[in-house]
């Protein structure tokens, strides 16, 4: 990104000078706004409808898709949390995604650092091996993985799920952080070495703090990726007690077709979507920054 680049999406309000507009411009702008508003409605509409419906009783849901809830049926949320097991799935998800995220960031940063800063025989091979892991479909691995985990006695356990999450998030983490560690100035690590810091110390107290922006970006993407994960838990974590959120909701939805508690289903969807969405809206500036960082690399 060159220094001369100007921010193209700066809204008009940034510039207090009145801008001369001609009719053609206004037409283009209104068409653009119309298209974008349509798009926004398409995105937000279903979400809002889900939110409203989650406060309706199942009878009301069957009545009409439009009626507003007469009295908010908060009981849906209680049902979703306890009867449908969303509460337990939520805690499982936090444990699994949280631990996997911490471990994969640490291992990924370590591996990327060594690959990026040290030249040794086989380093390119390891790098390309990681790259290959990014493109191969997980589906190819899923069947043997089932038996690998069973061999370790980790099938249907949370630690088994965590280690699998870590392994499959590793290539992305390493690939992204590799570029980041490469770009860090060598002078600083040399200065640390002269000051007597060993390799461990240099990494943990010099390099890792300097890589913080990159780590934050990768951590956000990894979080969303792991939070979204469905196939791995469905295939490798079939004990209902250990279900994660995505999996539990999938199971609940396919059940709901028969022993309908649609109110609770909608409530469960809201419980799952809301926390991440709220966090996103609060931190959206940083997150959008992460996406642009991805393209600049």
């Amino acid at each position: 990104m060159s220094a001369s680049t100007t921010n193209l999406s700066t809204p008009l309000t940034d510039n207090p000078r009145t801008v001369r507009t001609n009719p053609g411009d206004r037409t283009v702008a209104s068409i653009a706004h119309a298209v974008l508003v349509l798009w926004v409605v398409l995105v937000v509409g279903p979400l809002l409808w889900t939110l409203v419906t989650s406060f309706k009783t199942t009878t009301q849901i069957f009545d009409s898709p439009f009626t507003l809830p007469t009295r908010p049926a908060v009981v849906n949320y209680a049902h979703a949390w306890t009867t449908a097991g969303i509460g337990r799935y939520f805690i499982n998800t936090i444990i699994v995604v949280g631990s996997a995220l911490v471990i994969v960031m640490l291992l990924g940063a370590m591996c990327a650092y060594v690959l990026a800063r040290f030249r040794f025989f086989g380093s390119r091979v390891i790098y390309y091996l990681m790259l290959a892991g990014l493109t191969f479909p997980v589906f190819l691995a899923i069947v043997p993985l089932f038996f690998v985990l069973r061999g370790f006695g980790l099938l249907n356990t949370l630690p088994g799920l965590i280690i699998t999450y870590v392994a499959f998030a590793l290539p992305f983490t390493v690939f992204f952080l590799y570029a980041f560690f490469r770009a860090l100035p060598y002078e600083i690590s040399e200065a640390a070495a002269i000051d007597g810091a060993g390799d461990w110390r240099t990494f943990f107290s010099v390099m890792l703090p300097m890589a913080r922006p990159g780590l934050a970006s990768v951590a956000i993407f990894n979080f969303l990726g792991l939070w979204n994960q469905y196939l791995i838990p469905v295939a490798l974590n079939t004990n209902e007690k250990n279900y994660v959120l995505s999996q539990g909701l999938g199971a609940f939805a396919s059940q709901a077709g028969y022993s309908v508690d649609f109110g609770a289903l909608f409530a469960a969807v809201v419980i799952t979507v809301a926390p991440v969405l709220v966090v996103y809206v609060i931190f959206q500036r940083q997150l959008q920054g992460s996406v642009s960082q991805g393209t600049m690399k």
């Binding site: 008009l12 298209v35 798009w39 479909p137 461990w200 959008q288 393209t295």
Partner: protein, 336 residues
């Protein structure tokens, strides 16, 4: 442990770092450095090799056996799993459906994402500085919403929206007078199930790529746009002849990622029509593989299907590279 032995052996030669000079290198091969390499390379690599690389390799081997998993009997059967898969009409149908997804989903997603990104970044006034639309930030923030929602939830939510009797879509359609949609089964009709599924997948993906393209377009120096405008190029001309060529690498990367996502599509399809849809019209390879492995227990056959899926994915990526090459692009992938 092989990974540890590996790093051990390599340790003496690895100090070609920033520190120049031989003397320095010798001294650096200390306990500190040995433990450092064991931990920093050995640990991540062993996890990666055990849980990612070895299953991938095993899959190729299992695909040549008649393994049923729970019984230890496993005979080498050559390519018979592959012949069995390719004579199975349902599997062939699922390949067709997956390829259909891989053709339609990336193209529509990118076209839509590029259009919206262009509108947002250069939709503003044609006088003075190049500027975006007012409220650009608002549109961008909203567009990214679907990316924060797990795919399974997107599927569940839309299957409710398209529900025949109490869904939003039929509610709106009947309200404006289309009575024939009173209880129209969008996901249960052989003609609409696939397009509706594609729509849902695209809904989930567009926002992310739109934000990506906005970032890429913002990386283009505005002088280029200004000079194009002075030369008399209109907005559409600018978008096609300036924006697109300058961000073609991002588009290529997006195409590959979207293709991989569309060839998987397991989560969306499982949420919308877990049984493969009416007459298997939305059954995709990943779903059929999953069913073969975890419901029928035919592990060998499932691995063969996995190999076919991997081959299709690799050919897709190769094809995108080839097309990009032939049309004058460079061979490089930026990571989104």
């Amino acid at each position: 442990m092989t990974a540890q032995g590996f790093t051990h052996r390599r340790t003496p030669g690895l100090a070609r770092t920033a520190t120049p000079g031989r003397r320095r290198r010798r001294r650096n091969w200390s306990v500190d450095r040995v433990t450092f390499f064991l931990a920093f390379l050995g640990l991540p690599l062993s996890v990666y090799l055990i849980f990612v690389v070895s299953p991938f390799i095993q899959a190729f081997y299992y695909s040549l056996t008649d393994w049923t998993g729970f019984n230890p009997q496993m005979d080498y059967v050559g390519l018979s799993n592959y012949t069995r898969a390719f004579t199975d009409n349902i599997f062939l149908k699922s390949i067709r459906n997956s390829v259909e997804l891989a053709i339609v989903v990336p193209f529509v997603t990118i076209a839509l994402a590029l259009t919206l990104a262009t509108l947002i970044t250069v939709g503003g006034s044609s006088h003075g500085q190049i500027r975006g639309l007012s409220a650009a930030g608002f549109y961008r923030v909203i567009s990214f919403f679907p990316y924060t929602i797990p795919a399974i939830i997107i599927g569940i939510m839309w299957s409710q929206v398209f529900d025949p009797s109490n869904g939003l879509v039929n509610g709106i359609l009947t309200a404006v007078g289309f009575k024939q949609f009173d209880s129209f089964p969008w996901l249960g009709n052989i003609d609409t199930a696939m397009p509706v599924s594609m729509f849902v997948i695209i809904w989930g993906l567009v926002g992310f790529y739109m934000v990506l393209f906005i970032a890429a377009i913002k990386g283009i120096p505005s002088e280029i746009y200004e000079s194009a405008r002075i030369d008399g190029a209109g907005r559409f001309r600018t978008a096609l002849t300036i924006t697109l060529p300058l961000i073609r690498e991002n588009v290529q990367t997006a195409y590959i990622y979207l293709g991989i996502a569309a060839l998987d599509a397991f989560v969306y399809m499982q949420a919308l029509n877990s049984n493969g849809g009416p007459n298997n019209s939305t059954l995709v390879m990943s779903q059929y593989l999953y069913r073969t492995a975890f419901t029928k227990g035919q592990w060998g056959l499932a691995c063969a299907m996995g190999v076919v899926l991997a081959a299709v994915t690799m050919s897709f990526a190769g094809l995108v590279f080839l097309v990009n090459r032939l049309t004058g692009g460079k061979d490089s992938v930026t990571l989104a």
